[in-house]
């Protein structure tokens, strides 16, 4: 769609851009995304600022939600139902999973709504539309950090020490981010075209929650089911988080590889689908 023709005579920027109808699958134009990185920063900053300005609880909400969920789970799943937790105290077993999950689910929910929620901007300004869902996911990183700090606090309380596997943590966070972004892109685009998707999102997230080993360990499954289970990228994320922080489980194996592959597939397919449909956003949204 864009072609660049150097012209030797003009004094100002000489690249010529051609605006014409496009067809089919389009390139990702990551260079343009890079050009707009400042906008990405500002939109992320805006989301964060707005979220925290509005409520006193704003910052605390990032901690309260996973914390109280953990309490409820510990009581009902840990104590009453006596679900096994790989030899780790149930509260921290579930909390270590809830923290990345929280990041994923908020990111996904917000990304899914990012285009429709900014319909106004989409109709009046040009910028690579990828910036919108990416900004929403990034803005959730701040919440993640807060919840993570509480997680560290809990670990101290339970007397669990950090060991070297913790260095792998950023990688698994990245995996969660990729998954959230990939799924978020798909949902964001579908939401623009089909307005009832918005109502399906909470349900999808809920279903995904139970499909992820947060309240239960994946060791409940035998091989090869356990590896296949890794097709849910969040399964890989959650188990690896527990492994990196708490030392539970075996070291990363086939299941993790499957999760990573699934996440990448989600992301890449999401990116291409998004770019293909991007030209219709301003007209439909």
């Amino acid at each position: 769609m864009t072609s660049q023709i150097e012209s030797a005579v003009r004094p100002y920027e000489m690249k010529e851009r051609v605006i014409e109808p496009t067809r089919g699958w389009l390139g990702l134009q990551l260079d343009e995304l890079w050009e707009y990185r400042e906008l990405l920063y500002f939109l992320t900053w805006r989301d964060i600022k707005v979220r925290y300005k509005q409520t006193i609880l704003g910052a605390a909400w990032a901690i309260i939600q996973p914390f109280f969920t953990m309490v409820v789970f510990s009581v009902f799943f840990g104590n009453l139902a006596k679900i096994p937790s790989d030899g780790i105290p149930y509260p921290i077993f579930s909390f270590a999973a809830l923290v990345p999950w929280q990041f994923f689910s908020s990111g996904l929910g917000q990304a899914a709504n990012s285009l429709v929620g900014s319909a106004h901007m989409l109709r009046k300004i040009y910028f690579p539309r990828l910036v919108m869902p990416i900004a929403t996911i990034f803005s959730n990183l701040v919440d993640f950090v807060l919840a993570f700090l509480v997680l560290l606090g809990l670990m101290v309380y339970f007397g669990i020490q950090l060991k070297s596997p913790v260095l792998w943590l950023p990688l698994f966070l990245l995996l969660a981010l990729i998954t959230a972004l990939g799924a978020g892109l798909w949902l964001a685009v579908m939401n623009v075209q089909f307005r009832d998707i918005r109502y399906a999102v909470p349900f999808i997230i809920q279903f995904w929650f139970f499909a992820t080993p947060i309240t239960y360990p994946s060791s409940l499954l035998d091989e090869p089911w356990r590896t296949i289970y890794g097709i849910n990228p969040m399964a890989g994320v959650v188990e690896r988080f527990r492994w990196a922080l708490l030392g539970s489980n075996q070291p990363p194996g086939l299941m993790t590889v499957v999760s990573a592959a699934a996440a990448l597939f989600l992301l890449v397919s999401g990116l291409f689908y998004f770019r293909r449909m991007e030209k219709t956003f301003a007209d439909i949204v």
């Binding site: 012209s7 005579v9 003009r10 100002y12 920027e13 000489m14 690249k15 010529e16 851009r17 051609v18 605006i19 014409e20 109808p21 496009t22 400042e38 906008l39 920063y41 500002f42 939109l43 805006r46 600022k49 707005v50 300005k53 509005q54 106004h120 901007m121 989409l122 109709r123 009046k124 300004i125 040009y126 910028f127 579908m190 623009v192 075209q193 089909f194 307005r195 009832d196 998707i197 399906a200 030209k279 301003a282 007209d283 439909i284």
Partner: protein
């Protein structure tokens, strides 16, 4: 070597209409995916090859638009609502894609399609300046550099750190425009955003636009404000129903535009529906006659013109205390002069249920051109009829002053007034000076 900065080649944009909502639901899509093939098969069997989905009509918002714009051109884009002006800007801004053709752009494009896009009510003025600036495409360093200028222009320094939701609408709009006004792309696309704020601010905005234009930037300016277009633009494009119907000098484009909007005047006065008033007394026909009583199609500057206004009352009874107006307007929509019954001779005390009223102008005072006129009447202080675009009267050159010199077409819309010129006798000037210094 092509010198253009912007070039459109057969640009077109098609929309589908015929659907109540632009979007579908997933559920509908699923159902359609199943039923559509069945429906199509049925149609084929019936021998009809119609389009099966719910979208049945195409609408071309833009069609076959070709133009070239050089660096430094300030182009005004005018046309009626729905002519495709905003669509054109959207395509050039890359917000929407053309359906046909292509546009070639050389240079950074900044679009001002709306003022205050992206402003968030919870953020302060300062924060919104950065946010809005970034959204419009300015780098942070650029915003830093221009920050003081922006705040100065907006005149909202005292409120910089208050959340924007507490701003008055005037302040909001001033701040928004101030940010937008400091955009410095090579090509600037502006869509009707000058009508913001109060009069003094609007003047400021126009001034700023003028500055931008003078710096050698290329500007495309969509507006309904003909006066702004005249003063800022060097060229004008006229769009009508998606097509570029005229391209050239601003006054000519404005004239063409005026004429097209007045094409509604073709319908006879009696049947016109674009009128206001309670209808107690209505104009049914206008005829112009010259000094010798002959009907004419045009007036001549300096020559007598009489407007015969035929009217009738709605209830078949006489009308009391009637006032009437015949007003002539220039191309920019400004009132040139007004003939009013009340001022000329006092209201008509009684008018019969049907009849003709004559308005006689001994020496028609306008320079050659085409002028829209308005009719208005009032019965007992209640507006009975009012037609803004009653018609267009062409005026031909005539010897208004009796000097043998005729006014030329440009500039038109000038009202000629009886006057004399002479060189003052030096003795008289001396006396005048003495009087002035004494008093």
């Amino acid at each position: 070597m092509p010198e253009y900065v912007l070039r459109a080649e057969n640009l077109g944009k098609k929309y589908y209409i015929g659907r109540k909502e632009k979007y579908k639901t997933f559920r509908e899509s699923l159902i359609q995916a199943v039923t559509a093939p069945v429906e199509r098969a049925v149609q084929v069997m019936k021998g009809r090859s119609q389009h099966v989905s719910g979208l049945n009509q195409e609408m071309w918002a833009l069609r076959g638009v070709n133009f070239e714009i050089r660096q430094g051109d300030v182009v005004g884009i005018i046309g009626r609502n729905g002519a495709g002006k905003s669509t054109l800007l959207k395509i050039l801004s890359r917000i929407t894609e053309p359906s046909t053709g292509r546009a070639r752009v050389r240079g950074r494009v900044g679009s001002l399609l709306e003022v205050g896009t992206g402003f968030h009510p919870e953020l302060t003025g300062r924060e919104n300046i950065y946010l809005n600036g970034a959204i419009l495409g300015m780098r942070k360093a650029e915003i830093d550099r221009k920050f003081d200028e922006i705040v100065d222009f907006a005149e909202t320094e005292a409120f910089l750190d208050t959340p924007v939701k507490h701003y008055s609408s005037g302040m909001y709009v001033r701040l928004a425009f101030a940010v937008a006004a400091h955009l410095e792309p090579e090509i600037l696309l502006v869509d009707e955003v000058l009508a913001v704020g109060d009069i003094s601010f609007q003047k400021k905005c126009l001034g700023k636009m003028g500055d931008v234009a003078r710096t050698g930037r290329t500007v495309l300016f969509v507006s309904h404000n003909m006066a702004a277009i005249s003063s800022l633009c060097s060229r004008a494009f006229l769009l009508d129903r998606g097509e570029l119907v005229f391209e050239g000098d601003v006054p000519d484009a404005i004239n063409r535009y005026m004429e097209s909007t007045l094409s509604a005047c073709q319908t006879p006065l009696r049947q016109r529906s674009d009128r206001q008033g309670d209808g107690r007394l209505r104009f049914t026909e206008v005829t112009f006659i010259n000094g010798t009583g002959q009907p004419v199609n045009a007036a001549v500057s300096g020559q007598p013109l009489t407007a015969l206004l035929k009217y009738e009352t709605s209830d078949g009874r006489s009308a009391r205390n009637v006032d009437m107006d015949l007003a002539f307007y220039g191309a920019l929509g400004q009132l040139l002069f007004l003939c009013k019954v009340q001022l000329a001779r006092g209201n008509f005390e009684v008018l019969p249920p049907q009849g003709v009223v004559a308005c006689r102008i001994p020496r028609f005072p306008l320079t050659p051109g085409r002028y829209r006129y308005k009719l208005w009447c009032q019965v007992n202080r209640v507006t009975a009829d009012r037609i803004e675009d009653a018609g267009v009267l062409p005026v031909e050159a005539g010897d208004f002053y009796g000097s043998g010199y005729l006014p030329n077409k440009n500039p038109e819309g000038i009202v000629m007034v009886d006057h004399e010129w002479e060189l003052v006798d030096p003795k008289v000037t001396l006396a005048l000076d003495q009087v002035r210094s004494a008093g």
